[in-house]
Symmetry: C2
Subunit: 432 residues, 2 copies
Amino acid sequence: MSVLLDCYAALVPENGGLKCLKDAKIGIEGSIIDYVGTEMPEKKYDSVKNLRHAVVIPGLVNTHGHSAMVLLRGIGNDLPLMDWLHTVWPIEDRMTDREFETGMNLSILEALSSGTTSFTDMYMRAEQIAHTIEESGIKASLTRVMQNFDEGTDYWTYNRRYEAFDLFNRFNGAYDGRLKIDFSIHAEFTNTEGVLRDFASELRETEGARMHLHMSETKKEHEECLAKYGKTPAQWFRDIGVFDIPTIAAHCVWCSDGDLEILRDKGVTVAHNPESNLKLGSGIAPVPKMLEKGINVAIGTDGAASNNNLNMIEEMHVASILHNGYLHDPTVMKPEQVLRMATINGARAQGRDDTGSIETGKKADLAAVSLEAPHMHPDFNTMALLVYSAQASDVCMTMVDGRILYENGEFYTLDKEKVIYEAEESARSLFK
Amino acid sequence: MSVLLDCYAALVPENGGLKCLKDAKIGIEGSIIDYVGTEMPEKKYDSVKNLRHAVVIPGLVNTHGHSAMVLLRGIGNDLPLMDWLHTVWPIEDRMTDREFETGMNLSILEALSSGTTSFTDMYMRAEQIAHTIEESGIKASLTRVMQNFDEGTDYWTYNRRYEAFDLFNRFNGAYDGRLKIDFSIHAEFTNTEGVLRDFASELRETEGARMHLHMSETKKEHEECLAKYGKTPAQWFRDIGVFDIPTIAAHCVWCSDGDLEILRDKGVTVAHNPESNLKLGSGIAPVPKMLEKGINVAIGTDGAASNNNLNMIEEMHVASILHNGYLHDPTVMKPEQVLRMATINGARAQGRDDTGSIETGKKADLAAVSLEAPHMHPDFNTMALLVYSAQASDVCMTMVDGRILYENGEFYTLDKEKVIYEAEESARSLFK
């Protein structure tokens, strides 16, 4: 099956950046982009899809979340992080496989309808929910998040670690590579040093292992680590060898300049979650400085219980204006940078070299953003429209591996009404 | 004509705050709400409207904008305020009646489709565009914004002032009160003291006169006023008598504690424009402190050239999380406060005592927010859903004075395609 997308414009790579190619045609053969240009290609495609009203962008990559937490949307608002965690943890303890599954499906509806084609998730029961990734057609990097502070060393070592490697061995690369399995450490303050040192050492020997962790999200966490170890969380993770594994560090709100140099030197990706950091009162991450230092910064929504949605379009908008205001400098965040953060930087963070940009040879992971709504007129600057004016509802098509999964309100792989009904039922069951 | 709205819930006043009344019925006779309750009323209404999938909220009031600037959406991104103004001003100089009219119509499409029922606008050609308010059915407070720094005292006094009073006398209260005319001073730095002193004195004698101005938007503006007059802009406006007129002061990012006390004591409303202040690098207004001091804080989008949309749902979301993050305190902005800022506080700022809340005797200015999208499930806290999770596209109905103007993507008073076509044509004409 092949298709030619006939677009108003497409966001394509140019000189290490992005440019908006007007009147773009994108040819797709199976799951692969085999043509990008403004001329009609010589090749005959099975069909031509009219997207003359839309800008086609690389699918958005959400690099940090806790998907099934959509079931807790609206729980524990207006609480500081630790109080919020202590509100959420007992509820999570009541979650069974069923809740992880229904929550994951609801989160996938939300992701697909807002242009997300791939997400990195830090949560549990990955084995039990792997089938939601298979069935929905989306891409995901799942994990078994680990914390040993309330479990002791032995339990963690013999049980959680076994679980994590077993998951990795059985599911990493499943479904034509759409599913990846990461390793994950919840955070410094929820783990002990010796255990992590052994874990990191084992991971260094594991081909393809990747790491996903929380770091320096709150001032309290950052300072308590300094007081306890005489090191920042970034120094601590580096010293125990965790950063020798390709890592996504979520938040990094309180990182020092020295920490940022560690992140750059170790090739750690920062997952910037501006809405969650604002809502929980955690603070504002030094993103312009990170970009200046050459760190790979990507974007995440965090879980819906602290956001409270999984809308990457909104997250791009906030990322694009927040730092200007905080630093009193309107020049610090450019639309192009933010679009790269939400696409290619995210793909890189996930270890997916075959996606994240619109170019021949890459996977056709795409989102089409309609320019039809009143707020998308006039178009003097398409990249500015995408980050400053667009809304998730402007996403009119989401495609993964060349397959359309969402289009104009319709989901092709999920039964929207059923997913919502089951998620509502699951959410209610947590409070019976 | 009478109609009964049968709602999933409605946001109604309670003890000076708001509560979410589940299973609410709202009865409307002509333009007036004549029933609010959970029981079916005894009265027979001409029709019953099924809104069992939606929360009905008071129509959103956008208290600061420059509507026709939608034509400049995407112009002058990533520039500091003064550079941005100097980019925009020459373009505005080329705008004719036609551009003000087509721009206004485009902005009304955007407003209605995102739940805004009334807006306060600081711009020009109000006489030439009054008919857009008449025809569209929306409510607006228009003005002839005044600045004399490049015109001299005489021109201003004899021409602009005449224009402003003439406009007020002819149009204030037109179209059943839907159109109001404000007086407006662009800002301290674009006017001279003597002229404004006379102007304020004349306005104090003018019944029903209201004022709309920019104040302390940037640090530079605030500090230059201090250097020039030895007074902050708030002190300066107070001392020349401007605050003796009911005033909306937009931005107030750099107000000192003393300034806030002036605003409270003089009953000045602050129009908080978080997205514009962030995007232009102006800063973050001390909103939690304003609320604590008892100032009437409302919300505005500012013009689309510095936002870049007119989406009050998005503006509520940013207002609700920004201050938490900036102040490292997740408890400072509650959903209920933000919803009041965007509705009743805005209505009060406009001098519209007959709207802004859902209660019998008030005008039926309402927006219905659908709970059907994936991101609006589950509902553990409806007010949290409205400010943290909702998107403008969830607005499924906007009603002004009991008349439905927008519903499920359809505009009943404006021809969407024609408005967009004409606005695009106008925007292009500015760059010929």
